[in-house]
Amino acid sequence: MSLLTDLKLPTGAARQEKIATAKKKPRKHNDVLFYLSAGFVALVVLVAFFGRYIAPFDPNAIDFQLINAAPGQDGHLLGTDQNGRDIFSRLLVGARSSMLGALIVTIGSTIMSIIIGAVAGWYGGWVDNLLSRVIDFLFAFPGLLLAVFAVAIFGPGLMAPAIALSVAFIPAAARLIRNAVVQERSKDYVRSLEVLGFGGIVIFLRHVFPNVAAPYLSMQFLCFGYSMVDLAAISFLGLGVQPPTSDWGLMVSEGQSSFLAGTIWPVLWPSAAIVLTVVAINYVGEQLTEKWGGRSHV
């Protein structure tokens, strides 16, 4: 299904115009937003590491005397959920599983896409043919479907959907690497390096990969944001991390009944946490893509 990848980018005059408008943009305004987003992402990463040490309450302490408390009541900064658990503490602790899953997906898809793309592009011939078919085939499995299917086989939790999603994120990234390798492979400098006795892996890492490193890494940065949304959706469906663990997607799903009865806090706070984090990550990713001249995921 190679048809899914080739988006037409504006060419010729349209491109010139795009470059012109990009130059006209007030640079400073963008930078402030960029640093704000990057700072927020850094904060969430810190919370993911140290959240459980700064949480004011035990995230799993149930208090049936104080169900669905409003923010600020009895020292509960963001209120309590349907079991009387402190929402702020659960948010702090839940940052870990929400970020960890996306990290697994990003690292997994990075390693696998580099290996598949590089091997296909380097060896060419039937190896390339076979691996390109595998990539085409993977395009036919939407990520979330693959993740749900993986849960059916391996059971709910963090790992099964995360591994499935990292497979689902391979195709576009692997193709980027493959095309770059094919392009460089036939050039004279690569041949001379080979003649000098350098191995394929060294040539790839030192001379070929740096050519695509910028667009590739910005693509993987966006992958982090997308996989966070997908994993939150899996948690929301009850197929990811299981109760009583604190996880943002799971918190939204657990708050559903109180929410429909009119108490919005248990759903609002974790939703806001997910949205703010993902918007910040995507914004940083898009700015990096623009700076480094890459192409965003489809």
């Binding site: 085939f137 939407p142 299917f149």
Partner: protein, 315 residues
């Protein structure tokens, strides 16, 4: 043309064949005995074990069993649900209309809104363009379930314009119940169409044939629809193929959030119940729907734009 058609259909069948093998064989990747995987989560009775063994023919070779299962698929026999003790095909048929209606409504909304917003964005550079771009990329970053809850709260709980759960009885009632869910789905996916439309229309706007048409005195809607939009349509259609994947998988989330009885909520329920025959059938159906619609789009492209060489795009 015939050869091209045959080749594309052949490629689709090959993809589906491999997909079916993966979907069927995956069961044997699961840790432990397939029987324990198949019956876990159900009330274990000797009858159930016997029925699972018989249905899956676990004493026979793998490839024979796979062949029989695949053969059954062609005749509409998807096996028996372990949880509902009912034919999977009957179970799916009862859930299909809701999902189909949801996907069609949301898909129409996505494409119409995406094309409209993208066109406006391309034709009005400056603040309008920037507003549309920023708004759509923000909305695209919202997880589907968050949008669902926001709409449920505003239009269901507060304003009470729409029901908060359930699918309705008559067709009109169905459509009414599906308005909020399809707007939710469209919200998540419109940005994909908007961006492509914007880029493609912009590219056409500065092309020579548009300038010539303008010089001849063609203007307004006629200039746009005949000379700009028609030429800009190809990438938009290709992108719509990707949107279909989004519609199919995100309908699971929307169905669960809005309490709809569709295929998506059945899939989630079946995964939770470890009802494997249902999971296999729905997974394969979704892959089929996705691959098939994209093939249809592939066939439509040369009809819309004769400059596209048949088969050229899949190189």
């Amino acid at each position: 043309m015939i050869t091209y058609l045959a080749r594309r259909i052949g490629a689709m069948l090959a993809t589906l064949f491999v997909a079916s093998f993966v979907v069927y064989g995956a069961l044997y990747l699961a840790p432990g005995d397939p029987v324990s995987t198949l019956i876990s989560g159900n009330v274990v009775t000797p009858e159930l074990i016997a029925s699972v063994r018989e249905q899956y023919g676990l004493d026979r070779p793998f490839l024979v069993r796979y062949g029989e299962w695949l053969g059954g698929m062609f005749t509409g026999d998807f096996g028996q649900s372990l949880r509902f003790q009912q034919d999977v095909s009957a179970l799916m048929a009862s859930r299909l209309p809701t999902t189909l209606l949801l996907v069609v409504m949301a898909g129409t909304l996505t494409v119409v809104a995406g094309i409209a917003l993208g066109s406006i964005s391309a034709l009005r550079p400056g603040p309008v363009d920037r507003t549309v771009l920023n708004a759509t990329s923000f909305v695209a970053a919202l997880p589907v379930f968050v949008t669902a809850f926001a709409f449920l709260f505003i239009f269901g709980v507060k304003l009470r314009w729409f029901p908060v759960s359930g699918g309705g009885d008559s067709l009109g009632d169905h459509i009414f119940h599906l308005i909020l869910p399809s707007v939710t789905l469209a919200f998540a996916l419109t940005a994909l169409i908007t961006r492509v439309t914007r880029a493609s229309v912009k590219e056409q706007m500065v092309s020579e044939h548009v300038a010539v048409a303008e010089g001849r005195g063609v203007s307004g809607l006629k200039l746009y629809s005949r000379h700009v939009f028609r030429n800009a349509l190809t990438p938009i259609l290709t992108q719509s193929g990707i949107v279909i994947a989004g519609l199919l998988v995100s309908s699971q989330i929307v169905e669960v959030a809005f309490g709809l009885d569709g295929l998506g909520s059945l899939l989630v329920q079946s995964v939770q119940n470890m009802d494997f025959p249902v999971v296999q059938a729905i997974t394969l159906l979704v892959v089929f729907a996705y691959v098939f619609t994209n093939m249809v789009i592939d066939f439509l492209l040369p009809l819309i734009d004769p400059r596209i060489q048949i088969g050229g795009r899949s190189q």
